[in-house]
Symmetry: C2
Subunit: 242 residues, 2 copies
């Protein structure tokens, strides 16, 4: 036997309305008082439901707002959150994360090589330009430009799932080791080498050679991160380099 909690009914119903499109981002939910009348429950129950919906990133409520809670456009924030907890509680290793990035980025490049538009090529080119200019500025700007390049590739793959997962996993990896990279003694040399690698990848994408772009991108990421991965996990990464 399974009793459905009162707040769960509300969550499911509003969730359904949002996901089916009858409630669009930017629209407002009824106020808490209206909701309690509509569902014939108390205020606390309504609030518990709203907390869950908020945790799932579907709505946002602010004190003093004359309207009710706001329906939000989808963001991968909740996905990001649960993947971060996965990384922490299951002790997801850095090796696994980097390996996953290699898989995603290589696939994105493979697809981008065949599906990219000229505008997207320009974006990638501009990102590499930013990377080059950033070497003198500092690691943060360099990293931001690097992210912009990979984002452009991911968008060019025309696969939202790849795009979002790339974004999520990358930010987790960077959260784990960005300070180590920033503090590397030879970081300028690393940056220049990374730029050269990115140029090779872009050339392959421009030429439409998907397999080459995929192989180069795997190698690029391997070279960039292998120093931070424990030696015992490196063979698993090399297994992707064929």
């Amino acid at each position: 036997m399974r009793t459905v909690r009162a707040y769960e009914r509300i969550v499911e119903q509003i969730e359904e309305a949002v996901e089916s499109g009858s409630l669009h981002p930017g629209e407002r939910l009824p106020s808490e008082r209206e909701l309690m009348a509509q569902f014939a429950v108390s205020r606390s129950t309504v609030r518990e439901a709203l907390r869950v919906l908020q945790a799932r990133g579907l709505v946002r409520s602010r004190p003093g707002d004359p309207n009710g809670a706001e329906v939000l456009p989808f963001t991968p924030a909740a996905l990001h959150k649960s993947m971060t907890t996965l990384a922490r509680v299951d002790e997801l290793s850095l090796g696994e994360l980097v390996q996953f990035r290699m898989v995603l980025d290589a696939s994105a490049n493979l697809l981008a090589a065949r599906l990219r538009t000229d505008e997207q090529l320009d974006e990638m080119d501009a990102a590499i330009g930013r990377m080059r200019a950033a070497v003198a500025v500092g690691y943060d700007e360099f990293s931001a430009a690097d992210v912009a390049f990979h984002d452009a590739v991911a968008r060019a793959s025309r696969n939202k799932l790849i795009e979002i997962c790339t974004d999520v996993v990358r930010s987790i990896v960077l959260g784990l080791i960005s300070e180590k990279i920033a503090g590397a003694p030879d970081r300028q040399a690393l940056m220049w080498r990374s730029i050269r690698h990115h140029e090779e990848v872009l050339a392959a994408v421009r030429a439409g050679d998907g397999p080459l772009a995929a192989r180069l991108s795997r190698q690029t990421m391997y070279d960039y991160y292998v120093g931070y991965v424990p030696a015992g996990e490196r063979p698993a990464l090399r297994a992707l380099l064929e």
Copy 2:
């Protein structure tokens, strides 16, 4: 300016305790009344915090339980939930989902070909045996055996992220089209062809030929699903077949 809600403090603190490992799965949280004393807040606030933690899959609370909420082992349920939401609100196309599965499964096979143990080979073999026996039984059993095969491959890749994402995306895809597959007029022929393809993949994994296993697995999945993907999206799938 950013005011931190009362319930957020509680969520963050308990979340931190769970993720850092000072609270293990199976252990109990203090009761709601103890928590309200401990954090000096009202019971409603405590409950809102517990609802959020429950939505994130970290704890579970049952009425009448003399102990407090139970700390749960990690499950990808929350991840599954947010990815399902993504699929619904962002109208993630079937093509994108299948494409993503092709990417993940191919990578899992590539890695499995190099890292698999003999026991894992036996598992895959047994799964194909189940598939063969299931043709006469029906689609549900066939699908379950098919899932078991792909799960064995994913485990053999030794990458939990690949394993979990494979599982999540697969269940979303199957949720979208399982009834169509089950009702296909020539489904027995499809099953036999799928079995033959799986045998080829397994042979490549057994031989340690990663690139071959990856290519075959992509082709297998393409053949199995392409009939359900709108014609306009098929070129993007074929882009993965080189």
